[in-house]
Amino acid sequence: MKKYSVIPGFSLTLGCTLLYVSLIVVLPLSLLFYKAASLKWSDFWKIITDERVLASYRVSFGTSLIAACLNAGFGLLLAWVLVRYRFPGRKLIDALVDLPFALPTAVAGIALTTLYAGNGWIGHGLEKLGIKVAFTPLGIIVALTFIGLPFVVRTVQPVLEEVEIHVEEAAASLGATSWQIFHRVIAPQIVPALLTGVALAFARALGEYGSVVFISGNMPMKTEITPLLIMSKLEQFDYAGATALAAVLLVASFCILLAVNVIQWRLSRYRMAR
C-alpha cells in the first residue's frame, strides 16, 4: 500500500473513522439492541407482531414509500429546473429546498395541519371536493413528503450539474429523439443518485414522529404510525417494548439502505462492463 496521500496513513484515518462511527452510530444503536435483548424471544415476537403494531407498520411503511416516490418524481423535476434553467428567484428556490431540514418537525406538523384541516385554506377547498387530508393517511403522506423533499433534490442536483451537455448534443445530432436522449444518456448517470435520495427520504420518513402526530389523528389501526406506538410504550415505562419496536424499524431501514447500495453497486459494475 504505497500510495501518495495528503493526510497521513491509511491505518490512522481508518482508525479515526471507526472510532467516530462507533461513538456516534454503533454504540447508541447497540445499546438499543442490548435493551431489547432483555426480553424473552417469545415476548419480543409477541410485541412486534401484535395486531395494532402490524397495522402501524402498514401505515408507516406504506405512507413512507408513497411519500418517497412522490419525492422521487418532484425532486427530480425540481433538481432539473434548478440546474438547467436560469431564471429570477432561482437562488431563492434553491435555498427554500433546504428549509424542511432546518425546521423543527413539530412546526412543520402544526403548519401543515393548519393548512390541510377542514377549516384550513387548502383543506377547505379539498373537503368541498370530498377529499379529507388532515387526520387521514393522506395527511401523513403530505407531512412525510414535506420532510423528505430535500433528500432527492440534493442528491440528484450535483450529478445533474456534471452531465455533459455536449454528449446530449452529440446524441441529438445522431438523430436521437428527446426521450431517447433522456432515457439512454441522462438517466443512466442520475439513477444511482436518485436511488440514494429516495432511500434516504424513505428511511427518514419511517422514523418521523414530530410532524406526523399533529396531522395523522393517531387513530388506532387506521392512522397510528409505529413511532407513536414506541412513544406510547415509553409512556407506560415499558422500555423493553419500545426498544423492540425501535429495533424493528432500525433493521428495516438498514436493510433498505443496504439493498439500495447493492443495486447501485451492480449498476455501476454493469456500466463499467459496457
Binding site: 500500500m1 491509511f10 491505518s11 481508518l14 482508525g15 471507526l18 472510532l19 462511527v21 462507533s22 461513538l23 454503533v26 454504540l27 410485541i47 401484535d50 395486531e51 395494532r52 402544526i110 395541519t113 393548519t114 384541516a117 377542514g118 377549516n119 384550513g120 388532515a134 387526520f135 402526530v213 399533529f214 389523528g217 393517531n218 387513530m219 388506532p220 389501526m221 407513536l228 412513544m231 406510547s232 410504550k233 415509553l234 409512556e235 407506560q236 415505562f237 415499558d238 417494548g241
Partner: protein, 351 residues
Amino acid sequence: MKKSHKWVHVLLASSLALGVAGCSSAGESKETAQTKTVQPKAVQLLNVSYDPTRELYQDYNKEFAAYWKQKTGQDVTIKQSHGGSGKQARSVIDGLEADVVTLALGYDIDALEAKGLIKPGWQKEFAHNSAPSTSTIVFLVRKGNPKQIKDWNDVVKPGISVITPNPKTSGGARWNYLAAWGYALKKNNNDEAKAKEFLAQLFKNVPVLDSGARGATTTFVERGIGDVLLTWENDALLAVNKLGKGNFEIVYPSVSILAEPPVAIVDKVADKHGTQEISKAYLEYLYSPKGQEIEARNYYRPQDKTVAEKYRQQFPAIKMFTIDEIAGGWKKAQAKHFSDGALFDQIYKPH
C-alpha cells in the same frame, strides 16, 4: 491491507469508544462523592413539571425565592422544565437531576419510586395526598352550546364529535377516560360491562386522538374540529379566558373525577445536591396562603378553605369521585385500562 490488520483497528476503535464512555461515567461518580456541609450563599433547584404548569411555577418561583431570601438570607434560583408528564418522569429516570417533581399523576411519581429515586411513602409526605391543589375534568363546548351538551350521556350520543387525547400517550387523557368510566359505573350500579360499552361509544365519537392534552386543545380551538373537548378544568379556564375569548363555554357535568396532580422530592438527587431542606420548604410553601393564592390565580383548585372561598366564583361546586373509589388507585387503573392489551386497547380491537 490484510484482513486481520483491519480487525485490529476495529477492535481498537471500539475499545476506545467504550473506554471513553467508561471514563465519562467514572468522572461523574467522583464528583458526587463530595458532599456539601457548609450552607452555600446561593442554591439552585430544578423543578421538573408537566405541560400546563409553566405560568403557575413562573409566578410561584418568584414568590418562593423572595420568601426564602427573607427567611434564610440565601439566594435561590429555580429552574423549570416542562413537557408531557410521562416524558418528564422518564427524563428524571434517565438522569435529569430534578430536586423536585410536580407531575400530572401519581403513576408517574410511582415510576420514580420504583426506580429507587424517591423513598416509598412519598404520597404521605405532604398534606392532601401530596397534592397542593386539585383540578377536575370538564367539557369545553362552542359558544351557545349548539349541541346542548350538558352531561356525560350527551357526549356519547351518535353524531356528537368528541375531542380527547390518546390515553396511551397523555396523562390528561387518562383522567378524561377515568372520569367517563366513573360516571358510567355510578350510572350502571358498578356494572363494568356496561361501563366498557359506554367508553366504546364515547371513543366511537372521537375523530382525532392527539398525543398530548395541549394538542387536543389546539385541534378543538384552532382547527374547529369537534363539538366538545374533554379537558382539565385549568386548561378550560385558560382557553375561555385567554385563547378564544367569547368563543367557548365551560360545561360542568353532573359528576367528574377529582384530579390530584402530586408533588414529591426526588430524594436521591436532593441528597446528592444537599437540597433536601429547601426542596421540602419549596413544596410546603405551595400549601401556604400565598402559594394557594397563586394556584387559584392559575386556575388550579386550592386546598386551603379560605382561598377556596375567595375563588368560589371561578370554581363551581361539582360532585367528584376519586381514582381510589373507582379504580383502586393509579397502579391498578394503569394495569386494568391503559397497559397494552387492556380495556382501552380492547375498545379499538377490530371485530
